[in-house]
Symmetry: C2
Subunit: 259 residues, 2 copies
DNA sequence: CGTACCTTTGACGGCTGTCAAAGGAAGTGG
DNA sequence: CCACTTCCTTTGACAGCCGTCAAAGGTACG
């Protein structure tokens, strides 16, 4: 199954035509350079991008031109789904590492929603998880120390990575500079540096270049106050209701606008 | 047109059957007391509520049992739309003032999405605005002083109110205690008090009981760094695409599960 | 090989939290 | 209608986390 299809299948059953549709979308992948910009604030909404490979992020700027990263995107995520109902972007989007993108026009969401209730609900689920992730970050940001925030973000990212590929806490890819980590958590790069030094001094973990090595898993989990509940795939009642729809013979017109 | 219908009609054209469906939903309104709880964390997802009258909020708790308000809901908002794709609530929801609620089972979203692409897209638009509001708060929270945060929240709330009823900046309803304002912005009630005192001392505005009176509109706008762009109703291309669907004769089965 | 960016370290200041206590307002029950 | 209780508001003192400024060394990319 394709990357996107398996992301959606976490939430709903995909019909054969749903899967064909998603596979077809993915057939137009193209490479993206490190730091490449996908859009800027005030740009008209055009393409959304499925991130097939690499890391990306969306960014907002304050009036003082400070940067705040809103979300960090990993393979399988849809870049821009947050804003497709707006006329213009408020955020900036760019690649963090080099990678691969699958662009598709934002109006196509309308076709997807019209043709497949299952995919529509899966999109709601995707957006809901993104939003939950954001509220979780807000909670940690407003009520915990810089140290907890750093640990929390590292654990969250690890958990998301672990669903995509085989990774171990002892050492995993983490291509986030200290400056960028500051822009994610809303902290100054100087303070991020002090915090990471402290974590290394206390033998909790070490970040070197583009990797993180966890040395004391138990204390890490303790201090991070991380509860993966908000990343849960579980839904309630919706799959069953969708099944009813299918049994009663809903329409299936997804491939009609196929390119 | 009903409250909910006009909220949705901001984003898409509603067919006669869409409007009938929403009007039918609203026929089951019931009163809700001040401070009434709608659900608690870990409750199974059951009803969503359309807020017809009064103010409500959703809340998350940190591990230290501090409270963080995630969203403040005004008449026309859907309480719980954020979490309907989860199995259990992570947030708490409760009324701020007394009001009126229209409950409906969360699975019904599936029927709506299956039957009306327009309503489905409108739901995406609603969720998108909520999320934009959240990222905006995050931006202000992480990069501006308590004073700016307070001004920003007051202006945002005023702007939302102004779309519902005729209100003037000079004096409008604001049933938020200083403690609650602290829980919204992630600040201590003590500091909220100092900040409000400062704003009153500087002749910017005065909050007394359940009202806010703005004395210096110009400086308020200046200091709040408020840009209403993220509350914009505008969409791009989606209405047109929905119109194409209608012309090509999509299904219309909304009233089939009517109660 | 040079330039730009990232990391590291020190000094200093300020915004905001915590603790504590008292006065005021509002809702409750008799 | 009054008394009581609870919650909200206000004020002062003090501490600490984190931002800013500055400078230097390290690393990577062109």
């Amino acid at each position: 199954m394709s990357l996107l299809a398996s992301a959606m299948a976490r939430y709903v059953e995909l019909s054969a035509s749903d899967q064909r549709y998603l596979a077809n979308l993915e057939s137009h992948a193209r490479p993206a350079a490190r730091q490449q910009r996908l859009w800027m604030p005030h740009d008209r909404i055009g393409s959304l991008y499925i991130l097939q490979d690499g890391w990306a992020c969306t960014i907002r700027r304050t009036v003082d031109d400070e940067r705040q990263v809103i979300e960090v995107l990993l393979p399988g995520d849809i870049i821009g789904i947050r804003e497709f109902t707006f006329r213009r972007h408020v955020s900036e989007a760019r690649m963090i590492t080099a990678g691969t993108l699958i662009p598709f026009p934002h109006e196509q969401i309308v076709d997807i929603v019209a043709a497949s209730p299952s995919l529509a609900i899966a999109l709601f689920a995707v957006i809901g998880r993104q939003e939950a992730s954001l509220t979780e970050r807000m909670l940690v940001t407003l009520h915990h120390s810089a140290r907890s925030q750093v640990l929390h973000f590292i654990l969250e990212t690890f958990t998301r990575l672990a669903r995509l590929q085989s990774v171990t806490l002892e050492s995993f890819t983490f291509p986030i500079t200290q400056r960028l980590l500051g822009e994610i958590l809303g902290l100054s790069p100087v303070h991020i540096n002090r915090t990471l030094s402290g974590l290394e001094r206390d033998r909790l973990l070490k970040k070197h270049r583009t990797r993180v090595e966890v040395h004391d898993r138990r204390r890490l989990l303790e201090e991070a106050a991380f509860d993966a509940g908000y990343l849960s795939d579980e839904m309630d009642g919706l799959r069953e209701r969708l099944a009813c729809l299918r049994d009663s013979g809903g329409p299936d017109r997804l491939m009609s606008s196929d390119s």
